[in-house]
Every structure is written in C-alpha cells, then in structure tokens.
C-alpha cells in the first residue's frame, strides 16, 4: 500500500515536469536539455528555504519555482535569440552539467547533497488522513492543475502562435507574430513547472543531491517526454508512470529472482536508450517533430 502511495506521488510530480517539457518540445519545437537543471535548482532552493530559513514547505516550493524561473529568463534571453536548435540543445546541456558541478562544489551539502528536508506537512490532522496520502493527493492536484493549464494554453491564441513558430519562424514573423517572445514565454512556463516539480520531489524524498541535474536525469526526461506523445497533456501521466515504475518493478523482479540488482539498473538504462531510438524511428507522433528542418534563430 505504501508503495502505491509513493509511486503515485512520484508519478504525479514527474507529470508536472513532463507537461512543461512536452509543451516546449512538441508544441514550440524547442529542444532543451535544461529541464534537469531547473529541476535540481528548484529542489535545492526549496530545500534550503524550508530547512535552513524555516519557511513552510508550500511557501518554499512556490518561491523556489519563481526564483528559478528568473534564472530561466536570463538563460532564455541569452540563448533563444542567438542559438539555433541543436546549439541551443547543447548550451542547455552545458547548463545542466554545469549545475551538477556547481551543486557538488559550492552547493549545500556538497557532493552528497542535503538530507533532512522537511516533508510537505499536513492540512488535515494526520490521524484522520495519513500524511503520505495527503502528500499524494496534493501532488495529484498539482499535476491535474498543470495538465488542465497546458491544455487550456493549447486552445488559446498563444498555443496557435507557438505551433506557427515551430513550423516556420520566419513566416510566423512576417505574419506579425513575435517568435522570440512566444518561445520565451513557453520556455519560462516549462521551467517554472520543472522547478516546481523539483521542489516537490525534494520534500517528498527529504533529500536533495547534485545528481538531480545529471545526464541520468536528462535521459529520464527525454524518455518521459518522448513517451508522452505529442498532442495530449494526459499522455504525460503515462510517460511519468512508465518512468517512475519501470525501475521499481525491474528492481523487485530482479531481487525476487535473486539476480544481482545492478543488472536491473543497467537493464533499465539500456531500455531507456532503446526506447529513445525506437521511438525516433517508429513513434507516429514523432514524425511531425523529426521531420522538421533545422531552423535558424
């Protein structure tokens, strides 16, 4: 039972993260590998705010998400304008990996990160509804809210403009839209969601570590985003579930068969790589994306 509660909570958090990534990649055509960086920064900032500065968890999460969005603003203005797609991807990759280094050296807790991050806290007294269940319901609520928000966004004008920008920026510009502004707005929104998810994760696990921004996390995000399908935000719930549950299931299966656990971990990693490759070639919703030509900034 506890496992189910934990799994659903983790998947809800991942959904929040993936919803933003899906919007960024499939709707606007921006390939960013920086989601992990914002995830980790949101986690660390919220952890520090709540553990060291004594803010209540909810406040810490919101403040952290907003603050990290400020970083995203700086990065977005700097790179969205001047870099074309693949270089932007590489720059954001550098951002994520640099974040790992910064967190490892000057970040609180150093190499192994910080433990003792306060949990979500309870709204209703814990004997009425157990605390983990409250956390789960809260995270589910946030996930559902973000899905609704993104779906609404798609129906709005900005969603249509983003689609136009993805297909051909130059034409979009001649039509009077401002591609850079739209890209920036979407980038900020997705970064906010990523940071919020990171903050939630920090309070769920009680620990923050530098490797929250590492290449493993980046691959995880890619797989989740790819599996979410391009069109519907609900697909992110599916992607999130897969990404959260597959490692757990593999571990239990391998442990039950007394096989070395490390093989489970490797199998999981290899499966992720395989999923990416297979989906690129076969995923129908990806045709729309992979068929797009290289664009100039």
């Amino acid at each position: 039972m506890d496992f189910i509660v934990y799994a659903v909570t983790a998947a809800a958090i991942m959904t929040v993260l993936l919803v933003g990534q899906q919007l960024l990649l499939f709707d606007t055509g921006i390939f960013s590998l920086g989601g992990a960086a914002f995830f980790a920064c949101g986690a660390y900032l919220s952890a520090v705010l709540s553990k060291n500065a004594g803010y209540p968890s909810f406040a810490a999460m919101l403040i952290a998400a907003l603050a990290v969005t400020g970083i995203a603003l700086f990065v977005g203005v700097l790179w969205l304008r001047t870099l074309r797609s693949d270089f932007f991807a590489l720059a954001t990759l550098a951002l994520s990996l640099a974040t790992v280094v910064v967190l490892r050296t000057v970040g609180p807790g150093g190499l192994t990160g910080m433990a003792g991050v306060p949990s979500f806290g309870t709204i209703v007294p814990p004997d009425v509804v157990p605390a983990p269940v409250q956390t789960m319901l809260l995270c589910l609520a946030v996930a559902i809210l973000s899905i609704i928000a993104v779906q609404a966004l798609r129906g709005q004008r900005i969603g249509a403009i983003a689609a136009a920008v993805r297909v051909d920026e130059n034409v979009a510009a001649t039509l009077g839209f401002r591609p850079l502004l739209v890209k920036l707005q979407i980038f900020l929104f997705s970064s906010f969601l990523a940071a919020l998810a990171g903050a939630m994760q920090a309070h769920l696990l009680g620990v923050v570590e530098p490797r929250m921004a590492s290449i493993d996390m980046i691959v995880l995000l890619l797989v989740g985003t790819i599996l979410s399908g391009g069109k519907r935000a609900w697909g992110c719930a599916f992607g999130a579930m897969v990404v959260v549950l597959v490692p757990e299931v593999l571990q239990r299966v391998f442990v039950a068969r007394a096989e070395p656990q490390w093989r489970a971990f490797l199998a999981c990693q290899a499966a992720y790589g395989g999923v990416i490759i297979v989906m690129i070639f076969c995923g129908p919703w990806l045709q729309r994306f992979t068929g797009v030509r290289l664009r100039r900034a």
Binding site: L90, A91, L97, R104, V219, A270, G273, V275
Partner: protein
C-alpha cells in the same frame, strides 16, 4: 611547476585532439553531434582488455589492432544502421538517437564487465618515463607522435589525395553542394564513422594503458570535454578540433596547477575542475562565438 602543467596538458591534449576530430568530422559531414562517440573509447579499451590480459590472452601487439578494427567496424555499423537514417530525418533526431546509443553502449559495457575498475596492464617499456626533464611516459610520446602523426598522414594523403578523401572534405565544407554534385554519400558517411571509431578506440586504449584501471564511464566525461574542445576550435573545422584539443588540455592543467597553489581556494577546487571548466567554456563559446576560434566558414551564424 607550470612547465609540468604544460607537459600534462600536452599529454591529455593529444587524447582530446584525436577524439575531437571525430566529433568535428561527423558534425561537418552529417550535421549533428555524435553523442555516442565518447563511449567508443570505452568500447575500444574494453575489447582490447578482453582480447589480451582480461580474457583471450593475446599479446597486446595483436590485441590492439584487432580491438581498434572491431570498434571501427562497430562505429561504421551503428552509423550506417542508426545514425545516418536518423540524420536524414533531421539533425535533432540524430542527436536523440546518438544519446540513446550512448546509453545502451555504457549499459552494455557495465553489464558485461561490471562497473568495477578493472586492471589493464601492458605496454612494457612504454610505461617508463622518458627522463627527468621531460616528465612523460614513452606511452605519451607514442600517443602524441602517433596521434598527431596519423592525423597529419590522414590529412596529407587521404583527405588531399584520395578520391574518397576529397569527397569527405567536400561534404564537410558544404553538404548541400556535395549532395547536388552527386558525391558518394553512403560511402562517405560510413567511412567518416569508421575513421572516428578507429581514432576513438586508439585514444581509449592509450588512456587505459596510462591509467591502468578502466571503468565503463571512461569515455563519457572525457568525450564530453573533447567535444567542448571541438566546439572551441570550431566544430566544422577539422584542424580547429585538433588545436582546440591541445588548447583545452593545457588550459585545464594550468588552471588546476594555479588553483592548487592557493590554499584558500581548496574547498572550491571542484569549481575549477576539468568538468567545470569544460562546461563553462562550452557555455561561453556557444554564447559569444559559436563558430569557434578557428572557423573560417562564410556563414554569418553557425
């Protein structure tokens, strides 16, 4: 003190140069960053280990060429089957597929050989130091001479004299025009991967013999730094990649030497680590001079 740093920079710079060339070659001709390139270093050295002291017991003189050959063919195979078709869709698709291949290669190596550090001994006299005033091993001399030498040979004879080499250079400088001219695309692309795989394997084996302990992640961070080197030099410029490799190697070591002299910086030494420098340099170069230092292409933006 700084003399030693420069020597160390040359040692590691040679490796970066060789690996960076692979990135530049693939990017110039096919237009995407081959994330899987770094892991070919590990594949090469593990194959060599398996063929020699770790498994079949062949002498190094045989194990090395065989391992290099297999890795080259593996690289060509992966390129032909996965990366080239993906690149034909779009460069972002190829980037993603390369990431997937990289993950699979690392997992496969760790599954077969475990993530434990395995000893890799060999080379005999190559392990001895040249002399007191040249604090390098003969292995490093061999890598420098061999690496730079074979690059020079490749440059002079293959790229400038042979038909296929000329076609590769043409494709590298202008893929569209090459396509229009009807140059042998499939062969060009496959040979590009073959060359990059061969060089990656050689670099990996050199690193393995130098460290004498190998892990499956041997290629990953090294490859990433070599990629940064190729960006510094101008990712479309083959010569620039080589120069960038040495530049990064020397810079890394000079900074490390300088930081170690200042005790107050000790807790922050990690901020000046090789990975940190590489990532910061990458971000800076991409922001202000994405073309790289040596790029002479006519485009106004990369």
């Amino acid at each position: 003190m700084f003399y030693e740093a420069i020597i160390n920079g040359l040692i590691v710079g040679a490796i970066y140069a060789v690996v960076a060339l692979g990135y530049s070659l693939v990017y110039s001709v096919l237009g995407f960053v081959n994330f899987a390139h770094g892991d070919l270093l590990a594949v090469g050295v593990y194959l060599c280990l398996f063929l020699s002291t770790g498994g079949l017991g062949l002498p190094l003189l045989i194990a090395i060429p065989v391992a290099v050959g297999i890795t080259g063919l593996l690289a060509a195979g992966i390129g032909r089957l996965l990366l080239i078709p993906a690149a034909q869709k779009s460069s972002l698709a190829a980037l993603l597929v390369a990431i997937g291949v990289s993950v699979i290669l690392q997992s496969a190596l760790a599954a077969v050989f475990t993530s434990e550090a395995l000893p890799f001994h060999g080379g005999g006299f190559l392990g001895t130091t040249v002399s007191a005033w040249l604090p390098m091993k003969w292995l490093h001399v061999a890598t420098l001479a061999g690496g730079v030498g074979s690059l020079a040979l490749l440059w002079a004879f293959f790229f400038h004299r042979s038909a296929l080499g000329l076609e590769i250079r043409a494709s590298a400088s202008n893929p569209r025009a090459a396509q229009i001219l009807g140059l042998r695309r499939e062969q060009v692309f496959t040979v590009v991967f073959l060359i990059s795989g061969v060089f990656a394997a050689l670099a990996g084996i050199a690193v393995g013999l130098d460290d004498q302990l190998i892990v499956p992640t041997l290629g990953f961070s090294l490859g990433l730094r070599a990629f940064v080197a190729s960006v510094i030099g101008g990712i479309r410029s083959l010569g620039g990649a080589v120069a960038g490799g040495f530049l990064l190697g020397i810079t890394e070591n000079l900074v490390a030497a300088a930081v170690l002299q200042v005790p107050k910086l000790a807790p922050y030494a990690g901020a000046f680590s090789k990975d940190a420098i590489a990532m910061v340099v990458l971000a800076l170069v991409l922001t202000w001079r994405p073309r790289g230092v040596f790029d002479r292409s006519l485009e106004t933006r990369p």
